[in-house]
Structures are given as C-alpha cells and as structure tokens.
C-alpha cells in the first residue's frame, strides 16, 4: 500500500522543528498575505520562502512534482484576473470583450504571486512534517483532545487504503458488467454505485479499526505519550522566521506604497 503519511528519507533541518512552531509560522505568513492584494508583499514573501526550500529538504523539481496543480491554479487565477478585472492605465492587449491593461495586469500578477506565496508555505510544511509528529504536537502542546487527534490520524491511514479499494471495486464492478461506457447519465449512475460500494467498505473497515483501537484501551481519560513533543531553540528560530517574513512582506509593500487591504 502506498502511504503518504510516512516521511522517509528527508533529514533536512526543518524536519527536526516542532510541527506546532512550523504551523504557527506558516499561519502568520498566510494571514498577512491574505490581507492585501499587491504584488510587492507577495513577491517578498515568495522570495523568502524559496530561500527556505533547502532547509525543508525541498528542491524546485520536488516542488513542481508535488505542487503542480496548485502552481497551475495560481497561474490560471492570475491570468483570468488580468483578463476580467476592470481596466485602468494603458491597454496592452485587446481581443474583443477581453482586454488586458496595465492596471489589470498588475492585479492579475499580484493575484498569482499571492496564490503561490500562500500555497508554498503549506507545501513546505507538509514536506518536512510527519503527520504522527504533528498529531503528537497538537495533542501534547496545543492541548487538543487526544481522542479527536489520534482518531483523525488513524482514520487518515485508511484514506490511502480506500484509494486502493476504489480501484478494486471499479474492476470488480466492471467484472459484473457495470461499465464506464455509455451516456453521461449511465456513467453517473455507475460512479454513484461505485461510491456506495466504497462507502460500505469504508464503514466496515472503520468500525473494525475502532474495535482494534478500543481493544487496545483507547478512549480513556488519561494516557501517556511514548513520543514526547518538545520545543527546542530551533523552534524559536522557526517562529522568528515566520514573523520576519510576514513583517518583511508588510514593510516592503508599505515602502513601495502598494499595500491595499482586501476588505
């Protein structure tokens, strides 16, 4: 089975930071970027984030492999904003009802860069954080209820399993004569049927897993943690880094006079 939940072969510096510190740093950056739609703050953050890549064990190649849908979405978002936004300044391109002006191009560019600058920290966080460690941090440091956190973690393991199950059920149903051919209506019905089959299997698996967990004593009020979630000096740097990037983005935009609140 494929398991996206295990972080293997990545020993970069940021993998050793506490997931909660990384989470807070990413949150700060995202929050600031969500406040303005200008290209200066976004590109400042973007440059800083790209500089942090090696620390998370990421390369541009890996980023493209893992995050290409997000990158393409950001580019498309920027492009369509440039086309549909109200024109201001000199018109650069005019094709019938679509036109791109200096103003709309700037807006589109800002939109695209902002999309990237917000998506990147999330990819960064995921690529250097083991979900089990994140759960440990959330339960031990952020004091979220452990039943909820561990339940979610265990359920996420089943997601990978369900992806395989989906494929198997698809084949099993083809072997019964339910095809992916035919009219859109027939196809929709076939997909609904397959989803139902998957739902049944997911519920069976989930209830068996719940029995396994309960039989191992899960659900009590008190529990200990085999892995202690700890803070280190590194986490201070991670937090400071988050604050620094967020502040740099705001200051740069303020200095360039491009800062504009979304609200």
């Amino acid at each position: 089975m494929r398991d996206a939940l295990v972080l293997r072969g990545n020993h970069a510096l940021l993998t050793r930071a506490n997931p909660l510190a990384k989470f807070v740093a990413v949150f700060l950056i995202t929050l600031v970027l969500a406040l303005s739609i200008d290209w200066v703050s976004a590109s400042t953050a973007l440059v800083a984030e790209l500089a942090l890549f090696p620390l998370a064990g990421l390369t541009l190649r890996l980023l493209w492999q893992r995050g290409w849908p997000l990158i393409i979405a950001a580019a498309l978002g920027g492009w369509s904003t440039a086309i549909v936004a109200a024109d201001s300044g000199a018109v650069l391109l005019d094709v019938g009802i679509w036109s791109i002006s200096e103003g709309s191009l700037e807006l589109g560019l800002g939109f695209m860069l902002r999309g990237l600058a917000i998506a990147l920290p999330a990819i960064l966080l995921m690529s250097c954080t083991d979900p089990t460690d994140l759960a440990d941090a959330l339960a031990q440091k952020a004091r979220l209820p452990h039943r909820f956190v561990l339940g979610t973690l265990a359920a996420m393991r089943l997601v990978g399993l369900m992806a395989e199950e989906w494929q198997t059920i698809g084949m099993a149903r083809r072997a019964r004569g339910v095809g992916s051919h035919g009219s859109p209506m027939q196809r929709l019905r076939a997909t609904l049927g397959q989803s139902f089959g998957l739902l049944v299997q997911a519920i069976r698996r989930a209830s068996r897993l719940a029995v396994t967990m309960e039989a191992r004593g899960f659900g009590g009020r008190r529990r200990t943690w085999a892995r202690e979630s700890t803070y280190s000096l590194l986490d201070v740097w991670v937090l400071l880094g988050g604050v620094a990037i967020a502040a740099a983005a705001v200051l740069a935009a303020g200095w360039a006079g491009t800062w504009s609140f979304v609200f």
Binding site: R173, V211, T212, R223, W225, A226
Partner: protein
C-alpha cells in the same frame, strides 16, 4: 480506582474467565447472538473455540475484550461474564484482541508507534513503554526486518499480512494482558503467514503464560497449541433449526478427545478437522485436447497506472514480467506462488480488468466472437459474457440490494440467460435467500452468491482470486465440485490459489510466479 491502575496492578498475570448464564443480543436484532452460556476458563488455559457460524463466537470474544455495548443502550445482556471476577469493560488492557482483517489491526504509520499505542492508552510511563515495545517486537520476531536491525520507524503499510498480524500481537503484548483473544487471526493469510502467526503466538504464550481463547475453523493449525477445545452450540439460531435445544456448550475437553467424539458432527458443520479432505466430484474429461481461448504473451503487470509528475508520464514498475500462459476450454490453470509475486495482478490483467504494462493478452476467435482481440478494450457487457471474474472479497462485486436482482443483473444487461438463474440458485443452495440483502449473508453464502452472479452471464472463461480463502469445509467442497463440473462442461477455470487440495480437484496446469528479483519489490498484503 481508575481502570488503568486496576489493569497495571494485574499486568501480566494470567486471567480467569467465567460465564454464567451469559447472553447477548445486539442492538437492532430480535434474537440474541449468545444465550445462557456457561463456561469457566482457568488462568493460563489455552482454548480453541469451535462452532457453526451464528454460534456467537465472535460476540463472546468481543465481550471479553470489553468492546461490546458501551454507548448503545438498545443491546441486551443477560447473566454474567467476568474476567478475574470483574466485568471486562472496566478492565482496559486486561485482554487483548486480534481480528481477522490485517489492514485494520494496524493503528499507526510507524512500527514502534503502533506497538506503543496500547501501552500509551493504559498510561504506562514512557521509559517502560519503550522497554515493552522492544521486548514485544523481539517476541513476535519483528525486531529485525529484512536484516536492517531494529526498525522502529519502519512504515507499517509495507508489512505483509502475516507481519501485520504479528505486529498486532506485539501491540497486544505491550499492554501485558492476562488474556489473549484471537478472532480468526489467520483466515486472511497465505500458508506461510498462517504458520508465522501461529508460531509467534505459541512463543508469546510460553513466555507470558497468558490465557488464550482462539476462534478458528482450521483446527489443525491450533490443535497442538491448545489444551482444550470448546464447541459452542448455535445460540438462538438453534431455535430455527428445530426446537429450543439447550444452548451453550455442546462439547468441552482435551483436543484429541473432543475431536474423536465430535468428528462426524464437526465435519458436518464444515469445520476443518485435521486429516479431513471433503469428498469432491472427480473430473471426467480432464485429458481431452482443447481449444485455445486466451493467451498471455511476455506479459508485464502492475496494479498501478501510469503516473503524472508535472508534464511527465511515468509508467508503473511491473510487479511481475515475462509471463506467458495459455487458457484452454475445459481446462484449469492454477496460478501459485508466494505473496507479492503478482498473482492476482496477473489474473486481473488476463481477465481484461487491468491494462498490461508490457506484452499482450489476446483472445482467440472462439472467445472474442467479434469483440476484438484485446479483452481490456472490451465493453463491460462484452466482457462478462466472455470472461467472468470472481474477486476475493465478494462484497466488492455486489451491485444490488437483493440476492435475486444480483443474479438477474448480468442476464438483464445482456438481454438473455435469465432462465439459467433458477438452476444456479438451486445448484448453489441460494433459493431460500432470494429476497435477502447480499451484504447480510454469511461468508460461505456470499462466496456462493459471488460465483453464481458471475456465472449467470455464462462466460467461457472463469477467473477466481483465492476462492477458498477463509471458507469452511462444506463451502469448499461444494465450490470445488461445482467448478469441476463446469470444467467438464467446457468452461475454462483460471484460479489464483494457495490451496493445493483445491487445485488437485481441478487438475490442469500450474503457473508458478515468484517475486520479481528487483530489490524493494512491492509486498502484496494478504488481502491483495
């Protein structure tokens, strides 16, 4: 006193079990699963629990594990069921339970974390937990995986079915239970996995002296390990099979004595009594020359599809390659080999359900009948009347909510063959179930139904993936006899199986696949 403290003070001490007039009715059911059960098990005893399906064996194990009831008030308990004189629910960690499906016995993604999980829940101090984790992994033989030494962060998803069950055992041992409960722990495993798990259990019991209750219908696996066999009578199910009877325990004693006394009765109930191979129909036309229907040529197979990485497309790494095989009318082809050799994947590719990674599958004119040479390119309706595939898990193939609709589904789509359905119902003893929901049938009934539904479309080639896994002796014999009959009538049967007696009944040729030699070859779990 908190439950966890009660458990830790008793940690490791073998537990006693006592049932007095105990019964249980599940929420939403009208009849109890277990009724009036009287059973005493002394500390350190090892008990094999037998009985027909519906005797409430699993219910008893779940109750002892303390996972029955809880929130649903609608369930009904009668009498008493005690571990060391106290209710199981209040004694978390006193009993450890292993279930059948290896995939759901794993909780966390890393080996060491998974073993630690139970001990954490019992609030065992951290240093003690890791001590227990190392010890437990040692005991079940998972300490050094693939010669890499201690691998606490080994991904649990990369384990085989047998390894997953051993991991579950380690997780149980780390709780230091006094009672180990195994609910058909090896039903989903191949023969090597079965022994692997059985031996690990034996080692751990010898070391800890814990009490054992195991439910399993393959008696020969556990016979030498247990010192007592208890045969349960069907609880309320007996009511429908003739009068009220005296529910509870039917037979109880040392293994040899019980097996001698009850051999006939157990055989009739479909239990795999040691040395018993059920009588099956003998093939009559196995030697006749036959028409070629389907051929695989230098085939490379994989379950994975080509992946997209940005703009690039990466072809999957085949799990097995260079397979050449022929499928002939009225002849059996048996695919054997250890887990991870790509047996199922090959069968599914041969059956037109997976695209070959390399090489080709071609249907002869006698089979394709105008539908083209490549089965994978056939439409679903074209496929089912030519090649029928029975999956390992029958539930994957259910497409309706009623047994009769399930059987009519193929013929209705094809527009012919509905008259065959009655014969199939009769032949596979499903007539009394026509209105039942397929999901509610017993394991054996589900298996028979899944074979019948595929045959209803009248395919010339039948492909079966581990058809005898986890089946009782009665279903086994029925299935083997039925397939032998089909073969003699000219259908071709391709089966993936570890079951040598089964392939002996079908005859024909064997294709043995061994794991590809490349390093890090993908393991196919028990339930592949």
């Amino acid at each position: 006193m908190p439950a966890s403290d009660a458990a830790s003070s008793a940690a490791g001490r073998p537990a006693a079990v006592s049932a007095r007039g105990w019964g249980w009715r599940h929420a939403g059911r009208s009849t109890p699963a277990v009724q009036g059960l009287d059973l005493e098990i002394s500390p350190g005893e090892r008990v094999l629990l037998l009985g027909p399906s519906g005797a409430g064996k699993s219910t008893l194990l779940h109750a002892l594990a303390g996972v029955l009831g809880g929130d649903d008030d609608d369930a009904d308990e009668s009498g008493t069921l005690l571990i060391d004189g106290a209710a199981p629910r209040g004694q978390r960690g006193r009993a450890g339970l292993m279930q059948q499906d290896p995939e759901t016995q794993v909780v966390l993604s890393r080996l060491g974390d998974d073993v630690a999980f139970g001990a954490e829940n019992l609030a065992v101090p951290r240093e003690e937990i890791w001590k227990r984790v190392h010890e437990a992994l040692d005991d079940v033989g998972l300490r050094s995986l693939a010669g890499v030494g201690l691998a606490l962060d080994h991904p649990t998803s990369a384990l085989s079915g047998g390894q997953k069950q051993r991991l579950a055992l380690a997780g149980i041992l780390a709780m230091r239970p006094g009672l180990i409960l195994l609910d058909e722990p090896t039903a989903n495993l191949d023969p090597a996995g079965v022994l692997e798990v059985r031996d690990a259990v034996a080692r751990c019991l010898d070391k800890t002296g814990a009490t054992l209750v195991v439910v399993e219908h393959r008696v020969s696996v556990w016979k030498d390990l247990v010192d007592r066999i208890v045969v349960l009578q069907p609880g309320s199910a007996a009511g429908s099979a003739g009068g009220t009877g005296t529910p509870g325990v039917l037979l109880d004693g040392p293994p040899d004595q019980v097996l001698e006394q009850a051999r006939g009765m157990l055989m009739a109930a479909g239990v795999w009594v040691p040395g018993y191979v059920p009588a099956t129909r003998v093939r009559t036309r196995a030697e006749e020359p036959a028409e070629l229907l389907l051929a695989a040529q230098d085939l490379a197979v994989s379950r994975e599809r080509a992946r997209r990485r940005g703009f690039k497309t990466i072809p999957p790494v085949p799990v097995q390659s260079g397979i050449t095989a022929q499928v002939r009318a009225g002849q059996a082809l048996t695919i054997t080999g250890p887990n991870g050799a790509g047996k199922s994947t090959f069968a599914l590719t041969l059956a037109g359900l997976l695209a070959p990674v390399d090489g080709k599958v071609s249907a002869a004119v006698g089979l394709s009948d105008g539908a083209g040479i490549d089965p994978f390119a056939w439409k679903a309706e074209q496929l089912i009347s030519r090649i029928g595939t029975v999956f390992q898990e029958p539930e994957h193939q259910f497409v309706t909510g009623r047994v009769l609709d399930e059987l009519m589904f193929g013929p209705r789509h094809l527009g012919h063959g509905e008259e065959r359905v009655d014969e199939l119902l009769e032949r596979l003893r499903l007539t009394h179930l026509v209105d039942a929901n397929p999901y509610t049938l017993s394991g054996g009934e589900k298996r028979r139904l899944s074979v019948a539904t595929v045959l209803a479309a009248h395919p010339k080639v039948l492909v079966l993936d581990e058809p005898t896994f986890g089946q009782d002796a009665n279903t086994w014999a029925e299935l083997a006899s039925f397939l032998s009959e089909l073969l003699d009538a000219g259908t071709s049967v391709v089966s993936v199986t570890h079951d040598e007696e089964f392939s002996a009944v079908l005859g024909g040729t064997e294709l043995r696949l061994d794991p590809a030699s490349r390093s890090g070859s993908r393991q196919e779990a028990g339930a592949a």
